[in-house]
Symmetry: C2
Subunit: 207 residues, 2 copies
DNA sequence: ATTAATAGCTAATTCCAATTAGCCAAGGAG
DNA sequence: CTCCTTGGCTAATTGGAATTAGCTATTAAT
């Protein structure tokens, strides 16, 4: 039952691992437990499967974005939480969010697939940048602006703060995508990064 | 003449734009100005062309690494230069290095090709991480350690400093790879990032 | 109970792209 | 001058992978 959904999942997994062109419809079918021609009862062509995945991706983006935003989509609301939280709390939060993005099958596969297909189509390129950079930065900018206004953090340009916070995290994430065996080691770096960032923008007390 | 070299260039360009599997040998040939079967006078197969590119990439890596290292491969030697340089000088330096990596055809195509093929083969994944992350970080760590020892900068963990310096730059670079029309806008961010970073780790004088 | 739609299968078919065969001109070496 | 190597060409050949044809079992609706 719901073979249609199973096909999307199987295809997404394969596309994210090998890229669209390197996946045979027969492979997708096998993963689903049927034969290749049966796929065509559900999708008109291989391309259509890809397109359906893209649709899915766009639809689910709000869901992912919500996750990215800790628990809401209003930086102002979140700022209070952060203000209250300790450095350790911040680390805890960052690490668990990182782990979620790294291990959640859906999220990870979307990310890998977009990575691999990003140059095929300007639309995909734009989607990629929006999803993994611009939106994340714009949310975090708002958050940092808030925290600066509150006097919790000290910084002049929230956008740059966001870039400096987000880029290292994203880099570590993609490293784990490539070499999962390094996760432990890189998680340590992540933690140190967040700690250092917090300290740095906390104010002037050095230590 | 030197068709052999022209083939590699044409193939690299195409592979970086569309990925190995989406490029037909006929396209490569056309770009070179010959017919597909003639390619086989130079390379045994399409795969061999790819492999030759990889070889080239590995061989030329030292060259690229040297560039990355400003002008040498010894952080200690470079540290002096940085110590002397002004904040503006640092920005100038960073921006021009960024521009080089962004526009140098060879460098850019390698980067894109590795990006697109990174999950096909663990060897490529490792190469990617080494080339664009680990080596850069390890060099920069050395540099920052030096500058901290000199008292030019103030920071506790050079490795984290390197991560925080390098990751934003790399992120901006890949954004330009995807959407070249945003170069101007992103260059401004780059500049602000470097400036902010320098200020931040300069010492305690806030402003 | 019959019918019609659904979703699977095997066996074609089709298409396309890599590679091979086999021919030919140019040019350097003996 | 002839020979042989080099690098190009056109015209097959091959192989593989997407898609189509056409059959069948199941199930839900009339």
């Amino acid at each position: 039952m719901d073979t249609k959904k199973k096909i999307l999942d199987a295809a997404l997994t394969l596309f994210s691992e090998k890229g669209y062109a390197n996946v045979f419809v027969a492979e997708i079918a096998e993963k689903v437990g049927i034969r290749a021609p049966s796929l065509y009862k559900h999708y008109k062509s291989k391309r259509m499967i890809f397109d359906a995945i893209l649709e899915e991706m766009k639809r689910s983006y709000d869901g992912q974005a919500a996750m990215l935003r800790i628990d809401g989509n209003d930086p102002a609301a979140d700022a209070g939480k952060f203000a209250a939280v300790s450095e350790d709390g911040l680390v805890e939060m960052g690490v668990s969010l990182f782990r979620f993005f790294l291990h959640d099958g859906y999220t990870q596969k979307f990310r890998k697939m977009l990575t691999v297909e990003q140059f095929h189509d300007p639309e995909l390129a734009a989607l990629f940048t929006r999803q993994y950079v611009d939106d994340a930065l714009s949310y975090q900018s708002g958050l940092f602006a808030m925290l600066c206004a509150n006097g919790v953090l000290k910084g002049e340009d929230p956008q740059i703060m966001a870039l400096q916070f987000h880029a290292p995290i994203y880099m570590l994430l993609t490293m784990c995508d490539r070499e999962p065996e390094r996760e432990a080691e890189l998680t340590v770096l992540l933690e140190q990064h967040i700690r250092q960032f917090a300290k740095m923008y906390k104010g002037d007390e050095n230590r």
